[in-house]
Every structure is written in structure tokens, then in C-alpha cells.
């Protein structure tokens, strides 16, 4: 088995807010991330898939195909969008780095031919990132 990782980038706006809490509680827990006007990041996504190397092509997956899947399922939906306001899964979930990694897993799992999704890594900043290995990991 070989692990293969492909990167993609998207730039998005977001804010952190829990509707069940008062504005004061949101400000206390989320600090400057609770600013309702939002702020943004250049996110880097790393998608790692696991699979066997095809003896004919020498590929685990066709990288062009994987790139197209990431573009269709994630980048075209998230890039230059406001995650809270324009991406359906974040209407009910706070778009933290952790939840973005989980949401991207749910968007991609089962959609990559010939390989098994292994890890989603989302960098919000070069010094802050979240990893998700699926619900049963």
C-alpha cells in the first residue's frame, strides 16, 4: 500500500459564532474570531489517499482525476466564499479548522476511484492545522 498526498488551496471568509450563546459568551470563547463581519484565510488542503500501485500505470490514483475531484467537490465550493453564509454544511456547524477537515472528508469519502481516503489535513495558517482520519479512526 502506498499513501499519496495532493495539495489544493482555497481562500475563504468565516467567523466563529454559536447561536445558542449570548454575544458576550461568543466573544469570551472565540475572541476576535467572533467578529460577525468575518475574516479570512488562505487555506491549504492536503488530501492523502491509500491504495495499491496499479501494475500497468504505476499510479495509486490518476493525479489529474484526483485534482479534478478536489476542484469539483471542495475548491469550487469553498474558494472565495464566505463559509458560514455560502457553504451549506456550515449553516449548522462552526467552520473551525477541525470542522472544515471533517466536512471535506464527508465531501470526498467514497468518491476517489481505486483508492481509500486516509487523511484530510487543513492548514488555516502555516502554524495551525487539523487532521481528520474518518469517523471510525
Amino acid at each position: 500500500m502506498v499513501l499519496l498526498t495532493r495539495k489544493a488551496e482555497f481562500s475563504s471568509a468565516h467567523y466563529y459564532w454559536n447561536d445558542a450563546w449570548s454575544p458576550e459568551e461568543n466573544a469570551r470563547v472565540f475572541g476576535k474570531c467572533a467578529n460577525r463581519n468575518g475574516h479570512g484565510h488562505n487555506y491549504t488542503l492536503e488530501v492523502t489517499v491509500a491504495g495499491e500501485v496499479d501494475p500497468t500505470t504505476g499510479f495509486v490514483v490518476d493525479l489529474k482525476e484526483l485534482k479534478d475531484i478536489l476542484e469539483r467537490e471542495v475548491v469550487s465550493v469553498y474558494d472565495h466564499r464566505h463559509l458560514n453564509l455560502e457553504v451549506p454544511e456550515f449553516a449548522t456547524r462552526i467552520p473551525t479548522t477541525e470542522n472544515i477537515a471533517i466536512a471535506i472528508w464527508q465531501r470526498l469519502d467514497g468518491k476517489i476511484p481505486h483508492a481509500q481516503l486516509h487523511r484530510i489535513r487543513v492548514y488555516e495558517l502555516p502554524d495551525l492545522f487539523a487532521d481528520y482520519y474518518g469517523e471510525h479512526a
Partner: protein
């Protein structure tokens, strides 16, 4: 109005959060157990009597369920505050050889990494799974308390099922 998410978050999703911190410090690799020649042979230019320094990067990884109210594994501000007090205030712009914790141990980055595991294990809001220390861009050291999950067994993808 926005549609409700078709994929609600799993109730107890476990995620891994990693944070990187940076500090600069000097050290000298030398042990009194060796002769001058043995120290020079073992440590090379790192044995220079006056020491030298590095810009260190410390990468800590914590695992835990994603809190349904905050969307977080742990409070990042609390982790940063912990790191400020227990990492940066202790090590940044210091000579590692002068610190009490290296009185009887050579301040190699291996020993530093083990010490940082001990330090970050006392941050109790989430489970520390790994500490990785970059001494330079070309040297890194890591200590794993809990390995990352293994790849799952191969299953056919949706597209392959559809084809079938």
C-alpha cells in the same frame, strides 16, 4: 435561507489539532563522561566550547472529540497561553545548557523533544499524541505517544460501485 447540512457532523468525531511554536536558543553538545577528543569525535562542531544556536520550531499535536458547541478539539487561546508560559518563556533566547533540566543531560534535540513531551502532557484539555521539533530546516525529531490511525482496508468507491 440556507438548506440544512445534508451531512451533519458525526456526534463524536475525533480530530487532531497541530500547532507550531518558534523559539531561538543556544546550546553546546558536550558530556563530562567523554574526554576532549571523544567529545569532539561524537559531537563535531556542535562541541564548540562557546556554543551555537538555532531557530527551533516545536509542533505539538493534540487529539480529541470535536466539541459540538465550539467546533474545536481544545481552546486554541488556552493552548497558546500554556505554550507562552511553559515553552516560550522557558526556552526562548536562552542558553539550553544553563537550564536546570539539562544539568545532567546533553541538550540534544532528542532530549529537548522528550522534555517537551513531559511539558505538554500537563496541558490537560486534550490528549497529546505527538511532539515534533525542527532544529533546522533539515533536522527534525519526533516523539509519538499515539500513532496516527492506519489506512483503512480498500473498499470500492461510489463511482466504481456505480460502474459495476
Amino acid at each position: 435561507m440556507m438548506a440544512t447540512s445534508p451531512n451533519p457532523a458525526p456526534t463524536s468525531s475525533r480530530a487532531y489539532l497541530s500547532r507550531r511554536y518558534h523559539f531561538s536558543a543556544s546550546h553546546r553538545l558536550h558530556t563530562d563522561a567523554f574526554t576532549v577528543e571523544q567529545n569532539r569525535a561524537a559531537y563535531g562542531k556542535c562541541n564548540n566550547p562557546h556554543g551555537h544556536g538555532h531557530n527551533y520550531t516545536v509542533e505539538v499535536t493534540f487529539a480529541g472529540p470535536v466539541d459540538s458547541a465550539t467546533g474545536m478539539v481544545c481552546d486554541l487561546a488556552a493552548l497558546d497561553s500554556f505554550a507562552q508560559t511553559n515553552l516560550l518563556a522557558v526556552f526562548d533566547h536562552m542558553n539550553l545548557n544553563t537550564l536546570a533540566l539539562f544539568r545532567d543531560r546533553v541538550p540534544t534535540t532528542e532530549n529537548l523533544t522528550i522534555e517537551l513531551v513531559r511539558i505538554f502532557q500537563s496541558f490537560s484539555a486534550a490528549e497529546l499524541t505527538r511532539v515534533r521539533v525542527e532544529e533546522t530546516g533539515n533536522n527534525s525529531f519526533e516523539y509519538t505517544l499515539r500513532p496516527a490511525p492506519s489506512p483503512r482496508a480498500q473498499q470500492p468507491s461510489e463511482s466504481e460501485v456505480r460502474k459495476g
